[in-house]
């Protein structure tokens, strides 16, 4: 932490009030923990998730334990295809950077699992509800590992 400066300014009632400029930078080693096998999948170009060893229920995002029984789950590969529920053109960059706005963001229901992901769709056109999309690995040195991939609308070359 550091004090970047101090100043006297005029308050709403006309009296002088004192301000401190403060700067803080936080740094972390963020453990993705039980999601680690998902990132292992990204390194070989597949999306992965988990299903319950007991009841067979599956989810995306992956879960450490079955949500109903808190029993063990196993990892498996997803086909990497899905269907758009809704999409929007976003006009500001994501916090880790890595995408220049405007860009297309969609809610995608993933095949082979219950659930889905909010993620980027390549190209300038906003896909319609029901559009079929497929994952595409686009960046070997992404600003965030999750940006190693995006989706493309099937049959459309971005």
């Amino acid at each position: 932490m550091r004090v970047t400066g101090t100043e006297w300014v005029v308050g709403p009632d006309g009296r002088a009030v004192y301000l401190l400029g403060v700067e803080m930078a936080q740094r972390y080693r963020h453990a993705v923990g039980s999601s680690s096998p998902f990132y292992e999948g990204l390194e070989r170009g597949v999306l992965r998730s988990t299903r319950c060893r007991e009841c067979g229920a599956s989810w995306f995002p992956p879960r450490r334990f079955c949500e109903a029984h808190l029993t063990e789950t196993d990892w498996y590969d997803l086909p990497g295809t899905g269907t758009v529920t809704a999409a929007t053109r976003v006009h500001s960059p994501p916090p880790f950077g890595g995408i220049d706005p405007p860009y297309i963001l969609a809610s995608i229901r993933l095949d082979g699992v219950t659930g889905g992901i909010t993620h980027r769709v390549m190209g300038a056109e906003t896909p319609e509800h029901g559009a079929a999309v497929v994952v595409k690995f686009i960046d070997e040195a992404p600003a965030h590992p999750l940006l190693a991939f995006a989706f493309t609308v099937e049959g459309v070359t971005p």
Binding site: V9, G11, P12, D13, R15, V17, L19, V22, H30, V32, S35, W59, F60, P61, T85, A86, A87, T88, R89, V90, H91, S92, P93, P94, P95, F96, G98, I99, P102, L105, A106, S107, I108, R109, T114, G115, G116, I117, T118, H119, R120, T126, H129, H144, P145, L146, L147
Partner: protein, 404 residues
């Protein structure tokens, strides 16, 4: 079913600061002290010694630059020695704090609870820092890497609402116009404005279809309410016997999956937790015809379309009819239910920890007939507050009404 003053949890006092873009003359503890002092005066209290406990409402250690703020605020308002609980529930923080106090009184743990909340969400935090901090309200592992502001998931929800029900951008722009106009009549509001639907639609794009004027404000502010049993109010709050008592008639809360994209597709454009929270709150309050029985509602208009969706999920209109209701002004001043007479988050503003409490201040003041004439809902007897975290991951609905 209206509770009698004997067994009801009463609102003995309310107070708030103005919500503003930057209080350069006040820390968050100063603002909470000001709001609490206003609630003390409102309740006619001479001292804090008779209050059993405190509930401190704030969302973010980062925005407020203080961890363990609950104890600091508790000390500031004269409750040192008394128990205090810090409550956090994202955008629903303030309402959840009121609900926590209600549960404490209902359980018999306390007879009087002071709820105080504040946040410095305004310009003391520079814009890029604010965006970075707020982006952590999304799922940090699965969402934050792909979108930075909540305009994006709200835009996805309303896009699907538009497809299913024919809702239009002009319809939710009417809400952005309404709430800013309402705020012109609220002297404590952050920024009332007289704008048009065209102004909303031509403002800067955030995430299609949302534009800058579809979004709400980030404010500095604080609010406080004092909840108590009827016995306690009779003994310690001289002003409470001079006016018709306002009680909490019901409270409900529920959660939903925090991420938008793994919710059941059928519910994608809806706030499932809001439906459940309001259903529970209405059941407690004996409300079976929400639009017929509720006179006013302070609704979580984080985005204009979120208010439109809330009309439906709070049962104020049929599902799919929110756009039509907004276009007709059904929830404007003089309408069936007056929604956001304070100006809402768009006009009064939002200081997260204080927001749900400030909504309660507005509703209680309306029920007592104490607000400025222009925004007074005539003859109001029942009002609700509605807040949620994220895009509806946690919802809290509190119902206030006259007793006796």
């Amino acid at each position: 079913m209206t509770p009698s003053a004997d067994n009801a949890v009463l609102v003995a006092g309310v107070g708030m600061t103005p919500f503003v873009g930057f209080r350069n003359d006040a820390s968050v503890r100063d603002m909470v002290a000001e709001a609490t002092r206003a609630a003390f005066i409102d309740a006619g209290l001479g001292s804090s010694s008779t209050i059993d406990m405190g509930v401190a409402a704030y969302e973010s250690d980062h925005f407020n630059r203080q961890m363990s703020l609950g104890q600091v605020l508790s000390d500031t308002v004269g409750l040192t020695g008394k128990p205090v609980i810090r409550v956090e529930g994202g955008g629903a923080t303030g309402a959840l704090a009121i609900r926590t106090a209600l549960m404490a009184i209902r359980s018999g743990e306390a007879r009087s609870v002071l709820v105080f909340g504040g946040e410095t969400n305004g310009r003391s935090v520079d814009r890029s820092t604010a965006i970075e901090l707020l982006s952590m309200s999304a799922d940090f592992e699965w969402e934050t890497p792909v979108f930075g502001t909540f305009a994006a998931p709200y835009a996805l929800m309303i896009t699907e609402h538009m497809r299913r029900y024919g809702t239009t951008a002009e319809q939710f722009a009417e809400i952005a116009v309404k709430n800013r106009r309402m705020a012109l009549d609220n002297p404590l509001a952050h920024r009332g404005m007289s704008i048009t639907v065209e102004d909303v639609r031509s403002s800067a794009p955030l995430s299609d279809p949302y534009r800058l004027f579809d979004a709400s404000l980030l404010s500095d502010g604080a609010a406080a309410v004092l909840l108590a049993t009827g016995d306690w109010a009779e003994r310690h709050s001289p002003t409470s016997s001079d006016r018709p008592p306002v009680a909490i008639l019901g409270s409900g809360s529920a959660t939903d999956r925090p991420r938008l994209s793994d919710r059941p597709e059928q519910m994608f454009p809806h706030f499932a937790a809001k439906r459940e929270a309001s259903t529970r709150a209405y059941r407690e309050a004996g409300i079976d015809d929400p639009p017929g029985q509720i006179d006013l509602a302070e609704v979580y208009d984080s985005f204009s379309g979120a208010e439109l969706q809330a009309y439906e999920d709070l049962g104020l209109c049929p599902v799919g009819d929110g756009g039509q209701a907004a276009a007709e002004g059904r929830f404007d001043q003089g309408g069936q239910v007056v929604v956001n007479p304070s100006g809402g988050l768009m006009g009064r503003g939002s200081a997260v920890g204080a927001t749900g409490i400030a909504q309660a201040v507005e509703v209680v003041s309306q029920l007592r007939g104490e607000v400025t004439a222009a925004r007074q809902v005539p003859g109001a007897r029942i009002g609700i507050t509605d807040t949620h975290a994220g895009v509806g991951s946690l919802s809290v609905v509190n119902v206030f009404g006259m007793v006796g």
